[in-house]
């Protein structure tokens, strides 16, 4: 622990990751840059385009004259959506005929494309309801108000539970705690132990009277300690800087976090016993922690939506159980009564990892 850079990094890295990702990952799709090719140039087409301009989801970048200008803008990522209104738009609609409108969407980011498509469909649906209501009012001789009610008879009342403002930063902040505590403790542990292997100081341990168990525990207590301090730092950043609510029981969250941290340092320990060099330890830890904690933890996709194989893998890693705990404690306000199963799984995980390490760790490795 004399290594000062190493020690500061042990505390600074998690906080930096939290700040950078918390501020930087913006998953709300807003202000999508778009351009328009209006071949009709009528009052109705302008009104239609105006609906896109007025929406906070789209950001108007200008009009073009030719279609190939649109494709060039899309190719250069200057716009993400292009709107083409063909000629006779007004004429057809006034005559009671359907009028086609084409939207071209940049599919490079599939999630954003999907969301953009949803917004465009919503705008079209409301325009259509409006057009139809006017049409029915005119042809059947009833008031516009009554026609409008007829056109959309079922109202959908949406209630957002837990995160009423759909603030993606809150979700990200809670999930990031899981992610960072999954990645940084194993890194520290694996590197710390392998370093002793590499520079040979581990032979002092081999020849000393310290038992295997004593060595492992003595080695790990500092890392678990560092990580527990980090839990508090991260919790502080999430609640104070990102304004995420903390609705659950602090004591439960603290205890569950300690169990989780013991699990993740255990992963680092296991890695350190399997590899010989620090580079290998680093990369191996990155691979076995980053991928599952991003993919199979519920960070981005709820586990219930994964396919069967991925769901199986998700249950093999501790990250999933802890994601439920962080989301539950921060956003949902659930506690031990709902989440006890997850804590038990983490405990089992920790015990298995540590027992395995104890078996793998030989004082005199075969040469």
């Amino acid at each position: 622990m004399r290594d000062r850079l190493f020690l500061t990094l042990a505390f600074v890295v998690p906080s930096v990751l939290m700040l950078v990702f918390g501020y930087g990952i913006i998953l709300d799709v807003e202000k999508l840059p778009f351009a328009v090719l209006d071949q009709d140039r009528s009052e109705m087409s302008r009104d239609y385009v105006h609906q896109f301009m007025a929406s906070r989801y789209f950001d108007y970048q200008g009009s073009v004259q030719r279609e190939d200008e649109l494709s060039e803008l899309l190719a250069d990522s200057k716009i993400r959506l292009a709107l083409i209104i063909p000629q006779k738009f007004q004429q057809r609609l006034s005559a009671g005929q359907p009028a086609p409108v084409q939207t071209l969407i940049d599919g490079t980011f599939p999630f954003r494309a999907q969301t953009a498509k949803g917004y465009a469909i919503a705008i079209n649906a409301s325009t259509n309801a409006d057009l139809l209501a006017r049409f029915i009012a005119r042809t059947q001789g009833i008031t516009l108000q009554r026609a409008a009610a007829m056109v959309s008879p079922v109202r959908l009342e949406l209630r957002y539970l837990y995160n009423q403002e759909l603030n993606s930063r809150w979700s990200v902040a809670a999930a990031l705690i899981m992610f960072i505590l999954m990645v940084s403790p194993p890194f520290l542990t694996a590197l710390g132990v392998v370093r002793e292997k590499e520079n040979g100081s581990i032979y002092n341990i081999f020849t000393s009277t310290v038992s295997r168990g004593e060595f492992l525990i003595g080695k790990l207590i500092p890392y678990v300690g560092i990580s527990v301090v980090n839990v508090f730092i991260l919790w502080f950043i999430a609640t104070v800087l990102f304004g995420a609510p903390f609705k659950g029981d602090p004591l439960f969250f603290a205890l569950a976090s300690v169990v989780y941290v013991i699990c993740t340092t255990g992963i680092g320990l296991l890695v350190s016993l399997l590899v010989k060099t620090q580079v290998a330890a680093m990369i191996m830890t990155a691979i076995i922690t980053v991928v599952p904690s991003v993919l199979y933890s519920g960070l981005l996709i709820p586990v219930s939506s994964l396919d069967a194989a991925a769901r199986f893998e998700a249950h093999l890693f501790p990250a999933m159980y802890y994601t439920d705990i962080t989301l539950g404690s921060f956003i949902k306000g659930t506690g031990l009564d709902v989440l006890w199963g997850n804590v038990v799984m983490l405990l089992i995980y920790a015990i298995v990892l540590w027992t395995l390490s104890l078996f793998l760790f030989r004082k005199r490795p075969k040469v």
């Binding site: 930096v16 913006i26 990522s77 009028a99 071209l104 999630f111 957002y160 709820p302």
Partner: protein, 387 residues
């Protein structure tokens, strides 16, 4: 005079060749590291591509159907895969909310009694949908799709009451939505995530490998031997960078053909020589970052920590997670300092969009400038330390 110079160049090149071979040999003896490199370029990218999906995929939903009519069943029936998956009915709100609390279901739909009656009489009626938005992105998507489903259902019901059928739609004034998604028509997440992961792997390895090769010499003290040998700092450095570049380029080729093209059917629309040239330039630039990290640390553990610190902003500001237009103003300009930003733009541009230099010249210029700056800085620091 000329002969002397030629001999010098030959000697220089020979030294480079010998040292590069030495680095490659050293790498190939580290079996764990070799294994990790192979894994990173194949299985890791495959897992990222096949596992991640930011789409709403069979979100489980439960229903409280107080009406039990034809109309309510028809509505419930419309919540089906791919976006939703019906997980049965519950009797009351509290058991539904319990399922939401446990995270077993994502949404709870409440259909009031007399739903069908009101619908037939033309009275407005409502259904309530409670959505778990602890994951804001999926919550938003679920709300959007539910809105579309219920809207379409209402529209169909309205047409029926007015006495119109699907066939008479052609005689109604309405907008025919013809959207087309370019570059990735089926919005296949695998394409996006596999390419993103490949670029991340390239970034990580091109920082870590040269840095590790350099720091290892420091740790073992063999750097002293190198610095008393008749080699200039550049001659010590360049072989390290070159050998790692070779390895990374080989890995990239394997990954592009085997994983991207063969396993995921990524179209590879643009010019592949251009893609590899750009990759080479990118590896060179990021290797500079590795060199800086190597001069700042004494052992590999420090390199590892520094790499993570540097990697986080590089990836974040690259536009993979947040494209430039969604970035807040300050960060948007900061993106120009992330080499990955240019590489992402060019990588997706060449592989998916199939565009060439006529469109990508500005990114290439940016990467060249930034890359030479970083590399020069790395070399300068190295020279100062060991020159």
């Amino acid at each position: 005079m000329k002969g002397q110079q030629l001999a010098k160049i030959v000697l220089w090149l020979r030294r480079m060749r010998v040292l590069t071979a030495k680095e490659l040999l050293q790498l190939s003896r580290d079996l764990a590291l070799m294994f990790v490199i192979i894994y990173a370029f194949t299985l890791d990218i495959y897992i990222a591509g096949s596992g991640v999906s930011l789409q709403l995929n069979q979100a489980p939903i439960v229903v409280i159907d107080a009406d039990h009519s034809l109309a309510s069943r028809e509505l419930v029936y419309r919540f089906r895969p791919p976006y939703f998956r019906l997980d049965g009915e519950v009797d009351d709100a509290s058991s539904g909310l319990r399922l939401l609390d446990e995270g077993k279901v994502m949404a709870l739909m409440d259909i009031p009694p007399n739903f069908q009656k009101h619908l037939l009489e033309g009275q407005p009626t409502g259904v309530q949908l409670q959505i778990d938005t602890s994951n804001a992105v999926l919550g938003t998507l679920a709300a959007s799709y539910a809105g579309q489903i219920v809207g379409k259902y209402g529209f169909d019901a309205a047409l029926e009451t007015v006495g119109l059928t699907e066939a008479s739609l052609d005689t109604l004034p309405r907008i025919e939505d013809r959207h087309r998604v370019w570059y990735n028509p089926n919005q296949n997440d695998a394409w996006f995530f596999a390419i993103a992961e490949l670029m991340t792997v390239i970034t990580v390895l091109s920082i870590v490998l040269p840095a590790a090769a350099t720091v290892r010499e420091k740790e073992r003290g063999t750097i002293e031997q190198l610095s008393v040998s008749p080699l200039s700092p550049i001659q010590i450095l360049l072989p390290k960078v070159l050998s790692m570049m070779l390895v990374i380029l080989l890995g990239t080729a394997v990954s592009v053909f085997l994983i991207l093209n063969l396993a995921f059917d990524v179209p590879l629309k643009g010019s592949l020589p251009l893609f590899f040239a750009v990759t080479l330039l990118y590896v060179f630039s990021t290797a500079g970052i590795g060199l800086v990290a190597a001069t700042m640390s004494r052992n590999l553990a420090q390199v590892g920590m520094l790499t993570i610190m540097l990697l986080a902003p590089i990836i974040l500001l690259s536009g993979v997670w947040t494209p430039p237009e969604a970035m807040p103003p300050g960060l948007r300009q900061a993106m120009y300092f992330s080499p990955l930003y240019y590489y992402i733009e060019m990588g997706y541009g060449i592989l998916l969009k199939g565009v060439g230099l006529n469109i990508l010249w500005d990114s290439l210029l940016g990467l060249t400038l930034l890359g030479s700056l970083i590399f020069a800085f790395g070399v300068w620091r190295f020279k100062r330390q060991f020159g």
